[in-house]
Symmetry: C2
Subunit: 414 residues, 2 copies
């Protein structure tokens, strides 16, 4: 079954809002195993809406429209669809009552314009709007389906989940099952080379998605019954795990490096603290971003100046004088100081030159030392990151967490 | 001039990401007075890319593609455009060198795949990629223009601003001059009401763009000569400033609340420190994100647990026992403690319930106290923010900085 999403609204073409409706619907359709080959956006213009509808109905089984159901004159989706399918618009009494009640509930007055929203193409199945005034509808004609949804995301999502999704699920009969494998610190082309043959299996399909310092490999298969998916996905996942080793750090669509590290610490009853210089709190914030961080974290230090490093973390001023703040010696001393001060099991420190200024030949922009301390001592690792100030800082945070992850794995192994 | 945006990527059709590239480009084109009538999204499929390109070139003067420039086999934008326009792909030595240097800089190894990215359709004008490996290009043929941009937003935006925007501006024969006025803490509809008449001037145009807690008003005018713009923009800007008062905090496309506060502190030779609970370092990080933060900032504290608040900031355990950590008393004590510990001129503190768990009837999710201390004492302000954990944290950070801004303005006035 092929579906196309046709979004209608000049505000999308002006760039005032992103087309999050198309994203939301696509994600949900992919879960149902319904293929989406096109998203189209047109403005509030009868001719272009009609053209787009015609094209969409030629190449797809289902067309889902979003937007253009408001009470104003330039809202013309229903009118255009009805005209194109040669269906008259009929007053839907139940919708009119709902609209009246809703407007009265807000203390408003029903205007002529609102009446327009209660008209529905003949023979359409009405989808009531529980979050707004404009009802949606589903029209089946000549073996094709057109579903009309409102544009405001909250109204659209509520109507989609409660009414359109169950309709489509019944219609499709297949499900897409996916696994998301997160790989750290290996470039996209290197991963592609290592997994080359697995891209050509056909079933399951394998795709890569990149972000700073990491790549997600998505394994997907279409099945009649979700229970049949494991037998197909398990051996390929095992193969990817074997080839990627410890670089593969987590599985699951919502997994991230901070979440993974937080879970690892929690499972072992361990706590961590941080001492940050150039990342200025970004490392701590990446953990606190997750609800439940308090189980593994209670304090952290941002020590930007040399003075702060000595005063707050007890870094020996001699180290700062002899080696400078951006040095393995200072990173190590910061981590040890943060651990002692917080009585945590582990501490991570970051000190570096995030740029764009402050670099020298000897210590260029992007040079970062990451320190780690546990009850056996402290160590520092050198990194050179490329990119903007923000990228250097993000890379530093992710690599620091990865270092902690590898240290915990290593401790487990002993 | 009519432009169409053709975005290529199966990840868009799967709903993994929203098509923010199309939004970004549309917004910028609208600033140039270039009309956009269609956005189209297709997957990584030769046939559908070709079809979409054909349709787009029939109805538009300029087609801008985004995505499909990666090193992997399913990245096929350049190949398909070149084939459709009957242009051979030629190795572009300069791009190859750039790719080699970039990959080496990361300590990586150039793979066969990366080579592919250095091939460009014959006669195309290359747009180097300063944030990634894939170059873009502009092709003019038979009176039409095809511009090819990478998909990752950072790479796309950088290339668009530095290379495609100036090209389009030149093509249109006029220059767009814009001013960006940043307004904090006033709702969009309230701003709209206050500036109602200014939206109908025609010249200059006025548009509002909203983000968390703030709105940017963009004033724009198209002129043959940039020097003529001031006479048109100055009086309208003055009128907006008069109507918005101190809510208008800065002018300039790259201005932000953290930048504004940093500049204000720097100009007065003052320093600030922070004590964060639910924001966990995000406030400090928002300042350290800016190069030159060391002039106004040298240390900061993340105190997530009650114990940390007492131990690190000296918050009286009696306050925590009687009023709890999320209380004006605690916020005030945290700010005073952070200021004393750091010997800064100002200190800000944030303590609240970011959610999604931890709320009660008395202290609901979104309740945040922001404390501020200067040499005269400490005060706390109560806020109730709506939205997700992330939104509550971002709102807290922005409001804390705004509070410092207003305090500094107030001190100036005395």
């Amino acid at each position: 079954m092929i579906c196309e999403i046709l979004s209608i609204g000049t505000e999308l073409l002006m760039g005032q809002v992103a087309n999050t409706d198309a994203q939301y619907i696509s994600r949900r359709l992919s879960a149902l195993g319904i293929s989406v080959y096109h998203h189209t956006v047109v403005g509030d213009n009868v001719l272009r809406v009609k053209d787009a509808l015609e094209t969409a109905l030629l190449r797809s089984d289902i067309v889902i429209t979003t937007g253009g159901l408001g009470p104003t004159e330039d809202d013309l989706t229903k009118e255009t669809v009805a005209e194109y399918l040669s269906l008259p618009l009929i007053l839907h009494e139940e919708s009119l009552l709902r609209i009246k009640n809703r407007i009265r509930g807000f203390g408003g007055v029903l205007t002529e314009n609102n009446l327009k929203q209660a008209y529905i193409p003949e023979s359409a199945c009405v989808m009531p709007n529980e979050c707004g005034t404009a009802p949606g509808c589903i029209i089946e004609k000549d073996g094709k389906t057109v579903a009309i949804l409102p544009g405001p995301p909250r109204e659209m999502q509520d109507m989609f989940e409660k009414q359109l999704f169950p309709y489509l699920e019944k219609k499709s009969g297949e499900t897409l099952v996916s696994r998301y494998l997160h790989i750290f610190g290996v470039g996209e082309s290197m991963i592609e080379t290592k997994l080359k043959d697995l891209f050509h299996l056909g079933t399951p399909t394998l795709a890569l998605y990149c972000s700073t310092c990491e790549t997600t490999a998505r394994l997907s298969v279409m099945v009649k019954d979700a229970k049949d998916a494991n037998a197909i996905l398990d051996p390929v996942e095992a193969e990817i795990r074997a080839r990627m080793g410890t670089a593969l750090y987590a599985e699951g669509i919502n997994e991230t490096m901070p979440r993974t590290v937080l879970k690892m610490l929690k499972a072992r009853g361990k706590r961590v603290s941080f001492a940050e210089s150039c990342t200025g709190g970004m490392l701590a914030s990446s953990l606190v971003d997750i609800s439940g961080a308090s189980d593994v974290f209670d304090m952290s230090f941002v020590t930007y100046s040399n003075e702060a490093k000595s005063k707050i973390l007890g870094v020996d001023p001699g180290i700062l004088k002899s080696f400078g703040a951006v040095s393995p010696e200072c990173a190590r001393a910061m981590a040890i100081g943060a651990r002692e001060k917080s009585v945590a099991d582990y501490a991570l420190s970051i000190t570096g030159i995030a740029g764009p200024d402050g670099g020298t030949d000897e210590k260029p922009v992007g040079l970062v030392y990451i320190g780690i301390a546990d009850r056996e001592g402290g160590w520092a690792h050198k990194f050179i990151f490329k990119g903007s100030r923000e990228q250097v800082r993000i890379s530093s945070v992710k690599h620091a967490l990865n270092l902690l992850r590898l240290t915990i794995l290593n401790t487990d192994g002993r």
